[in-house]
């Protein structure tokens, strides 16, 4: 199971790097979304995977009996997903506002804060 997840993480990362190398800011963002999911899967897999054993404490017990899935990475991933979602929502809004003002999503043409070429005199 871990091996399969590792391959999926690798494919996602490769795809995201390909997308992030594009000049189009939207493609960069899609790459970022993929990368963020790859990282979430990494955290999930790093807690080791246990099949069909939910981390539940049976009624009347103090601790789970036997082998259960590791609950901590799930909590971490949940946090990371929520944070990542918020950041991406902000970034999408920023990209949209940037497109409206600058009329481009090509990062090579976004040269308003920095000089277009060497103009130091």
């Amino acid at each position: 199971m871990e091996a399969l997840t590792a391959i999926v993480i690798g494919v996602l990362t490769a795809g995201s790097v390909y997308l992030m190398l594009a000049r189009n800011f939207m493609r960069f963002l899609f790459g970022l979304i993929l990368l963020s999911n790859a990282v979430n899967l990494t955290i999930f897999a790093s807690g080791r995977m246990t099949k069909g054993a939910p981390a539940l404490v049976p009624y009347g017990e103090d601790a789970p009996l036997g082998i259960v899935g590791n609950a901590l990475p799930q909590a971490l991933v949940l946090t990371a997903i929520v944070i990542g979602f918020g950041l991406l929502a902000f970034t999408l809004a920023l990209a949209f506002e940037g497109y409206r003002r600058m009329n481009t999503v090509d990062t090579d043409e976004m040269r308003f804060a920095e000089p277009k070429e060497d103009v130091t005199k």
Partner: protein, 499 residues
């Protein structure tokens, strides 16, 4: 004891909520100011506790370490929290002069307080995943602050800043995931033992490099700094100043923490890389500054070059070098924030930050000129200002190791810093104004001038005090460095504390 550690984080958060509710009223800005003053009190209380006990730790929600989230403050954390609160208060005052009402009603003060809370949280946490969360709190606030007010320039800068910072965060996050996979813990004190005992030290080094890259982007070190000069010259001066003072230093702090507490298994490899990265950071930063002709762009490149000195203190990894690094960190936050404050006031007087389009400030605003000289010369390392002692410690540490080349580069970069500072001095202050007018302080309303002048004077006085009475600060930095190099107190306090 836990409230001592919680208050410096809780105060700005509560202030943020109240300031947001009052964002459409003048009361909002006074609430922010009062909150910042309270934060300073809270951080001073923490500082006293740390001075008395060495290391203070608290377990959140009574979950014992290493299972729960630990807040912990040693000397380094405590001084960073105090300096954050000081910068926060100075910025809150400065904002009264600069931030227009439309921006205030967008929730400026709430975002600002969240930023301070995030920075403080990052300094105080003892849990790696919690550190990630604080980084995100800080980032989302900084994203919004950077683009608040709108305009092409800010949006352009914002997009680059956001994109590169998000990538670095993801590298940092996957480093956390992998480290958890190898060691099974996220508590930083617990990680020290777990990392040392890990079977596959090669894997640990790989993870260490992921952390170095993740924090390196935040700290703006050599090949990873491009977001900084692309963005720091666009927002309000208030925001530039607080970013310049605090944000990159969180990256430096995180590097210092992780590479003294956790990743010390292969110092020969990781810290050797850091040495070269630091030297290149110092040099490229100062050369980049020499090519600029805008007040804030020059200052932005100087942030990068100065970051190199701090990471160099970490990279040399001797007690003296780390002491210099800690001293540098504190001195730099004060000086750099102050220089951006001065730039803002210079713009109020002269109308621009483009050095080719302003001038004559020495004649019409001699007080501002004097107040520029203090942080500028301190940045370059003139005795007897604070920067001299900071550079002296680093160079001496390099000489003690017989690292002549490192000492040479440090001194050379100091020299080149003077070049940029005299450029600003000559073009903004001495040269007559190109339009033939006298930039008069009367152009700015008295309220604005007063609000902007108070923090500049306060921070400049601090620079002078540190410069003339460095003894207590140096001793403090020495203890901080000792704690960093021998974190046994840190580890036992975190792991041994009962709720």
């Amino acid at each position: 004891m836990s409230w001592v550690l919680v208050m410096p984080i809780a105060v700005p958060f509560v202030t943020a909520v109240v300031a947001y509710l009052a964002r459409n009223y003048p009361a909002g800005r006074w609430i922010s100011l009062a909150g910042s003053a309270l934060s300073l009190v809270a951080s001073a209380v923490l500082m006293v506790a740390v001075l008395n006990e060495g290391v203070v730790a608290a377990q959140m929600s009574n979950w014992n370490a290493p299972f729960g989230i630990t807040l912990v403050a040693d000397y380094l954390s405590a001084v960073m929290v105090v300096i954050t609160a000081i910068t926060g208060l100075a910025t809150a005052i400065y904002a009264l002069g600069e931030i227009p009402e439309e921006t205030e009603s967008l929730g400026f003060y709430a975002l600002f307080q969240v930023l301070i809370a995030g920075v403080t949280g990052a300094f105080l946490t003892g849990d790696l995943f919690n550190l990630y969360v604080w980084f995100e709190v800080m980032l989302i606030a900084s994203f919004s602050l950077l683009v608040i007010g709108g305009g092409k320039e800010r949006l352009d800068a914002g997009i680059k800043y956001v994109a590169l910072n998000l990538v670095s965060t993801l590298v940092f996050l996957s480093g956390i995931g992998l480290l958890y996979g190898v060691t099974g813990t996220l508590n930083m004190a617990d990680l020290r033992e777990a990392v040392a005992n890990a079977e596959n030290q090669g894997l640990i080094t790989v993870i260490a490099m992921m952390f170095m890259v993740g924090f390196g982007v935040k700290a703006a070190v050599f090949p990873l700094f491009f977001w900084l000069p692309a963005s720091y010259h666009t927002p309000y001066f208030t925001i530039s100043a607080v970013f310049a003072g605090l944000l990159t230093k969180v990256g430096v702090y995180a590097l210092m923490r992780m590479f003294t507490l956790v990743f010390v298994g292969d110092v020969g490899f990781t810290h050797e890389i850091l040495i070269w990265v630091s030297l290149l950071t110092m040099f490229t930063g100062v050369i980049g500054a020499a090519a600029q002709s805008d007040f804030r762009k020059i200052l932005s490149f100087h942030i990068i070059s100065q970051i190199g000195y701090m990471t160099l203190g970490l990279a040399l990894f001797t007690p003296l070098a780390l002491m210099g690094g800690v001293f540098y960190l504190v001195h730099h936050i004060i000086v750099k924030a102050n220089l951006f404050f001065v730039a803002g006031l210079a713009k109020q007087y002269a109308g621009s930050t483009d050095l080719n389009r302003i001038g004559g400030l020495y004649k019409s605003a001699p007080l501002l000129a004097a107040l520029f000289i203090i942080p500028a010369f301190s940045l370059a390392g003139f005795p007897p200002l604070s920067g001299f002692w900071a550079k002296y410690l680093i160079v001496k540490a390099a000489l003690e190791l017989d690292a002549w080349f490192i000492a040479f580069v440090s001194l050379l970069v100091g020299l080149l810093t003077i070049f940029s500072m005299t450029k600003i001095w000559g073009m903004a202050f001495w040269k007559p104004h190109p339009d033939g007018i006298d930039p008069t302080p009367d152009r700015a309303p008295a309220r604005v001038t007063l609000a902007m002048m108070i923090p500049i004077i306060a921070l400049a006085s601090m620079t002078i005090v540190i410069g003339f009475y460095p003894e207590p600060f140096v001793q403090f930095a020495q203890t901080a460095a000792e704690q960093l190099l021998d974190p046994s107190d840190y580890v036992t306090t975190v792991l041994g504390v009962q709720p």
